[in-house]
């Protein structure tokens, strides 16, 4: 029994102990190294890749999977939004049927049969749990045969254009100070981000295609160039600027103006001027209606925008699901744009807090409104229940008492509540003049409680039971023009608000 002899020997037992300790140290070092390698690898982990498909029927995005060092996409998911599609499989063959077109695939084979004709896939067809996968590179050859029409595949950027759906744009520099005006052939709604020296617009849902040259130079000292690029199913337009710039949407999303972010009124710097929320598109001094009477100078001190229009919800927060295809967050953005246009046409400088599908917490919304010292904060909501419009003011909760100059966050609205209520009455009265059912109520609705200045919320419901009325431009305009008329009427009253 050699092992018992070793343990009985003190020297050998000591040797075993040392060996055990050194092994545990090696194990500990290995674990630490593994953690370090993992930590170093994690930030560099590639984000999930997507294929964007644009067509006249639907624009959609599909996840890609990596197989054999290539990007693969599921065929069923690819064709499903475009028409009637089904698949059958056995051990030898996977058969796809799209409308009246039949395509046969064999696992591991690089060729397929579409309507009896051979199609080169440029890579192996894979069958995983009944799911047929093809390389993205094969779509250029495969999709036109299945769909029976032209398909353009941007393999490098994982974008597929079915038919003539592409959105083109032109860029021109005008004015002094220089403004970059981008005209699009269809409405666009990119997410906008700023970074030192650049403003980046990401078009995740629009079939935007490159101009003649991906690099556009303008010969301006302030906005020298713009670069178009595509990656991971998205188009990105980066505007290089040597001064802070902001983007303004116009012409129902067909025009984006990039202009210097200088404040329109002479005012001391305030946090709002550095803190435009994600997706916000403020009005600029270049608006054609600037000649209209502005808010009283005393009231505008420390204020960049007279009105802050807040498209409620956004990002992960969809708000109410108004129908299978309509979300509250999308209706509120459209209403906000319309209201901004109506306010600006009455000479009221306006910031739309959320002009893209950005996540913005209620606290952030209140912070932006308070930091700007806006004369009026207007939150927009949409609903399927009830009829017409509801105008809300804050129903203040029981909060901590204010302490000296510090105000309780939950009851910050307290000092402006009366002015909010009188403004809400004016708005309700103006809507009533347009024969739309309207009610003037209080509601426990944040961030109304947290806004220091006058604050109201407007909830728009259809006049009947058809929620599609919420997206009807004339109904939107009828309501937003009424709200804007009331705000303009209350301008002097609101101008002196804190």
């Amino acid at each position: 029994m050699p092992w018992t002899k070793k343990i009985q020997s003190g020297e050998n037992a000591g040797g075993l102990l040392v060996e055990a300790v050194s092994r545990s140290r090696v194990a500990a070092v290995a674990v630490v190294l593994l953690i370090l390698v993992w930590a170093l690898w994690l930030p560099g982990a590639p984000s999930e890749k997507h294929l964007s498909v644009y067509s006249t029927v639907a624009n959609y995005s599909l996840p890609l999977v990596q197989r054999e060092g290539r990007d693969y996409v599921g065929l069923l998911e690819l064709f499903e939004p475009l028409g009637k599609v089904s698949a059958k499989s056995d051990s030898q063959r996977w058969r796809l049927r799209y409308n009246n077109v039949q395509a046969d695939f064999q696992p591991g084979k690089t060729h397929a049969q579409v309507q009896g004709r051979d199609a080169d896939l440029g890579g192996k067809f894979l069958l995983e749990n009944g799911r047929g996968l093809v390389p993205v590179g094969s779509l250029g050859a495969l999709m036109p045969r299945v769909l029976g029409g032209p398909v353009a595949v941007h393999e490098e950027s994982d974008r597929v254009f079915i038919g003539g759906v592409a959105t083109h744009f032109t860029a021109s520099l005008t004015g002094d100070p220089a403004r970059l005006v981008l005209h699009f052939t269809a409405p666009v709604n990119p997410s906008v981000a700023t970074e030192p020296g650049a403003l980046r617009m990401t078009f995740a849902h629009e079939p935007l295609v490159a101009p003649a040259s991906p690099t556009l130079t303008f010969g301006s000292k302030t906005i020298p160039s713009a670069i178009y690029s595509e990656s991971n199913g998205m188009a990105i337009l980066t505007v290089n600027a040597l001064i802070p710039v902001m983007a303004t949407f116009g012409n129902d999303g067909r025009t984006i103006t990039v202009s210097p972010a200088a404040p329109p009124v002479s005012a001391p710097p305030n946090p709002a001027s550095q803190n435009i929320p994600p997706g916000a598109t403020p009005a600029t001094s270049a608006q054609p209606t600037q000649a209209a009477p502005a808010a009283p100078a005393a009231a505008s001190a420390g204020r960049r925008y007279f009105a802050i229009v807040d498209a409620s919800h956004g990002g992960d927060d969809h708000g109410e699901t108004l129908s299978t295809t309509l979300l509250e967050k999308d209706v509120t953005v459209a209403l906000a744009r319309s209201l901004r246009q109506e306010l600006e046409s009455r000479g009221i400088t306006t910031l739309v807090l959320r002009d893209s599908d950005a996540n913005l917490s209620v606290d952030q919304r209140a912070v932006f409104a308070n930091a700007d010292h806006a004369a009026i904060y207007i939150a927009l909501h949409a609903a399927s229940s009830g009829h017409g419009v509801r105008v809300y003011t804050s129903m203040l909760p029981i909060g901590d008492n204010d302490r000296g100059p510090f105000r309780s966050w939950s009851t910050a609205q307290h000092s402006s509540l009366q002015l909010s209520q009188s403004t809400a009455s004016l708005v309700a009265g103006e809507i009533q003049k347009r024969q739309i059912p309207v009610r003037d109520l209080s509601a426990p609705l944040r961030p109304l409680n947290n806004v220091i200045g006058p604050a109201i919320a407007v909830e728009v419901a259809p006049q009947g039971s058809d929620v599609s009325q919420l997206t009807a431009p004339d109904y939107e305009q009828l309501i937003t023009s009424a709200v804007a008329t009331a705000i303009a009427a209350a301008r002097d009253q609101l101008g002196g608000a804190p």
Binding site: M1, H313, D317, G319, E320, T321, E328, H381, A383, S384, S385, G386, R390, Y392, M395, L396, P397, I398, G399, S410, R439, D440, L441, S442, A443, P444, L445, R446, N449, A457, E459, A461
Partner: protein, 199 residues
């Protein structure tokens, strides 16, 4: 050649493993046989019986977005807290009825009501109540006003109300009505006036 003691050890270990396997199988069967149903519907307290009492319930009506007082005769226990619970459960039964004027999701329940002196009521809703509630400023406003106005109108002395969901604070009821703060009963009473028909 494997030493004899190793063979014996191996046999003992195998027998032990086999024995533990049989024991685990037996225990698994025993646990399966005694498993409690996921939804335990056994009553925790006797049903309220006895003489009925007239109360006023403030019932939300979606068709015109109003809050209407409705008299009801319900059996009321003697305890103040139990009375508050029965009131809200009577209100909830109207909303869960097929012909409800303000539909709430199936499974909505008032878990409990706590009355804490001085003048604080805490209404604890179950998760289904909030998770299945329709989203919208007015529909959520109506629910909150209905609950709070009913409890405060029938239970004197309540000054502020907090609404919890499954015993926890929640930001909103269904995306709009704020549940993160205490409601001022006087402010809710003003809202109830605004929500009356004809206002």
């Amino acid at each position: 050649m494997i030493p004899r003691h190793l063979k014996i050890g191996m046999v003992v270990l195998l027998l032990a493993a086999l024995g533990l396997g049989v024991y685990a199988w037996h225990m698994r069967k025993a646990v399966t046989a005694t498993a409690v149903a996921p939804t335990d519907t056994r009553p925790l307290a006797p049903p309220v019986a006895g003489p009925t009492e007239g109360v006023v319930l403030f019932v939300a009506h979606d068709e015109d977005g109003t809050l209407r007082p409705e008299s009801a005769q319900i059996p009321m226990p003697s305890g103040r807290q139990q009375r508050a619970e029965e009131l809200l459960r009577a209100l909830l039964s109207i909303y869960l009825d097929k012909s409800s004027p303000h539909v709430l999701g199936a499974g909505s329940e008032i878990r409990s009501v706590f009355l804490v002196d001085p003048g604080i009521a805490v209404i604890d809703l179950n998760a289904a109540f909030a998770n299945t509630h329709r989203s919208g400023v007015l529909v959520e406003d109506l629910t909150v006003a209905s609950l709070i106005h009913t409890i405060s109108a029938n239970t004197p002395g309540i000054l502020k109300v907090q609404i919890l969901v499954d015993g926890n604070e929640r930001d909103t009821l269904a995306g709009h009505a704020d549940l993160s703060s205490y409601y001022d009963v006087s402010a809710v009473n003003q809202l109830a006036v605004q929500l009356q028909p004809g206002q």
